[in-house]
């Protein structure tokens, strides 16, 4: 046996997964309350004790961890045009596993600056201009930031012409320079920036968030949890040298406060008569809906789907839905646990959460008529041909209606402009192993992939 321990420091739970990389199987999982306010070691220790009860005493060869504790990796970005470098910066940050708490475009104002300082980001991403293009905006923004003497590190990834000048303006601050996130019009180059963000996270954030105390037991790699999940999903879709993947996929994690959506797919137009508009999106794309969540953000689901829809799906009266939603807001730890009404409501909420979050993630298509006849204009990714959906989150795991809920991620004839998958196999991550497998995949990609294939539960085929 060769045991490896994988840790996910969450905002409420520390989750452990013990894996035997030789037998390629999971030895056990355990979770315990994260106690970052006092000492993160306590949470880890009690989780370890729980795990030991299941697996017996183990001698770990290695220990890897990811973290979304203490609010996760909070980032603020500034670009030039909102739909272009502004969007490129946002996509880069989300893909790096960040929680984007502020997005700015054009020249930063004094008001913006106050807001930024107040939001206390962990990292600021400063971009703007294609290479050789506009320098005015990024230089102005660098000057503005410098005037505030920020304590957070700043990643510069804009017009290369302005790089040195930005560095000079920001001397005295913690500054990192990366290649432009949008070197040419319509071309994204976000990986170098994401790598840099991850490195800063490793060196700086971990210390700031009290995780350094446990670093002596960690052998290596530390990344934001969403970044680990994205890595796992890329591996599951694309496979590695020794093992084939399951093909293009969409993954949804419906949480209590947010809903994360991942797509590992090309998504470019299918037909010749479709014109693509806007920024091309990354092959491995992540979005987070901060207003869509089963408990803390339950109101966001109701606002997005409408009371009528929730009532229709749950079979409860509108008044009862309102009452129950108020209750959930107050008692965010409530779970159905046999309560039929709450089960029905959670079904409706989770269905609407998935439908809304995947709609926002997927691209859209619009029909127009030109002198040359019918033409289609596509924006964002076309996911209609994606055949695999992976879902996770409490509301999908602790229910018998997983497949029914997951089906709401699919194409809806009533909303034909949303390019969601037409039909797909549904897979459920019942034991929350995705982040752990993402961590493991750095060193044991084949093993991580085979374990995921084994552990993810097939939940039917939805149309």
């Amino acid at each position: 046996m060769k045991a490896v321990l994988l840790i996910d420091f969450g905002s409420t739970y520390t989750k452990l997964t013990a894996v035997d990389v030789e037998a390629e199987q999971i030895l056990g999982t355990a979770a315990s309350y994260t106690t970052i306010h006092t000492d993160i070691n306590d949470g880890l220790k009690s989780a370890l004790a729980l795990l030991e009860r299941k697996t017996g005493e183990l001698n770990y060869e290695a220990c890897y961890a990811c973290s979304s504790a203490a609010g996760g990796l909070r980032m603020v970005t500034s670009g030039l045009v909102p739909e272009l470098t502004g969007e490129a910066a946002r996509l880069a940050s989300l893909g790096a596993g960040a929680k984007v708490v502020g997005v700015y475009a054009f020249q930063l104002t004094e008001d913006d600056l106050e807001e930024i300082l107040e939001s206390k980001p962990d990292i600021f991403l400063l971009v703007g201009g294609t290479d050789g293009g506009n320098t005015e905006c990024i230089l102005h923004n660098a000057k503005m930031l410098a005037s505030a003497k920020p304590e957070f590190p700043i990643v510069i990834a804009g017009n290369r012409t302005a790089k040195r000048e930005c560095e000079r303006l920001l001397s005295g601050c913690e500054v990192y320079s990366c290649p432009n996130v949008m070197p040419k019009f319509g071309v994204l180059n976000i990986e170098p920036t994401q790598k840099q963000i991850r490195e800063i996270f490793l060196n700086r954030i971990i210390q700031a968030k009290g995780l350094s105390k446990v670093s002596d037991i960690l052998s290596d790699i530390m990344m934001p949890t969403p970044s680990a999940v994205l890595q796992a999903m890329s591996l599951l879709a694309q496979g590695c040298e020794e093992e084939a993947g399951i093909g293009e996929l969409v993954a949804v994690d419906v949480g209590g406060a947010t809903t994360d959506v991942y797509s590992i797919a090309d998504g470019m137009p299918e037909h010749m008569n479709t014109v693509y508009k806007g920024l091309p999106e990354p092959y491995a794309k992540r979005t987070v809906e901060g207003d869509i969540g089963m408990r803390y953000s339950v109101q966001g689901i109701v606002d997005a789907a409408g009371l009528h829809r929730i009532s229709e799906l749950s079979g409860l009266s509108k008044d009862r839905v309102v009452e129950l939603v108020e209750e959930l807001k107050e008692h965010t730890d409530r779970v159905p646990n046999g309560d039929i009404e709450l089960e029905m409501l959670d079904y409706a909420l989770a269905s609407c959460a998935i439908s809304e979050a995947v709609s926002r993630h997927a691209g859209t298509i619009a029909e127009t008529y030109t002198m040359m006849g019918q033409t289609f204009v596509q924006e964002g990714k076309n996911l209609t041909k994606v055949k695999q959906i992976v879902v996770t989150g409490g509301s999908l795991i602790h229910t018998k209606r997983t497949e029914e809920i997951a089906a709401h991620a699919l194409y809806d004839p009533a909303n034909p402009s949303s390019l969601r998958p037409k039909e797909a196999d549904v897979w459920v991550d019942r034991t929350y192993i995705l982040a752990a497998m993402g961590l493991l995949s750095t060193y044991y990609p084949g093993t991580a992939l085979r374990i995921m294939k084994k552990e993810l539960e097939y939940h039917g085929h939805s149309k």
């Binding site: 019009f185 008529y369 040359m372």
Partner: protein, 144 residues
């Protein structure tokens, strides 16, 4: 800061127009002539030209229109450029920019009144446009 050694053009076919061939030819001709070309392709809105011109600090915007609706599509372009901080950016238009047989002098006059620096009739060779761009961008002293 390093100086740009090439002038940057933003090009594309405006409106609900999907004529892609001329656009490709212009892209190659302009690139060959030493311009840095940001090609937005077909079905381009005024806002897209402007956004691309801002990010790339373009020296000029070259608009094509082949389907006769160019005059409608181009209306307000100059004002929007002004609004977006691209004051004075050279605007060039060409193709089948109006419907029917009209005297091109009149057409040109109307486009100039709309704030376009140059307007070109159907069948204009790329070389003519390149010559006009060199003049507009004061590139006369440079090597051709």
């Amino acid at each position: 800061m390093e100086k740009r050694d090439k002038k940057v053009l933003v090009i594309g076919v405006i409106g609900a127009d999907v004529h892609a061939v001329g656009n490709k030819i212009l892209y190659h001709a302009f690139t060959e002539a030493g311009f840095e070309v940001v090609n937005l392709g077909v079905m381009v809105s005024q806002e897209e030209y402007i956004a691309a011109a801002i990010e790339s600090s373009a020296d000029a915007i070259v608009i094509s229109s082949l389907y006769g609706q160019g005059e409608l599509d181009c209306r307000g372009m100059r004002e929007k450029c002004d609004e977006a901080g691209l004051k004075g950016i050279p605007l060039v238009v060409g193709g089948n920019i109006v419907i029917g047989k009209q005297k091109f002098e009149d057409v040109e006059k109307r486009f100039k009144a709309m704030g376009f620096d140059r307007a070109f009739p159907p069948g204009t060779a790329p070389e003519t446009t390149i010559e006009a761009l060199r003049e507009l961008l004061h590139m006369d002293g440079e090597e051709k």
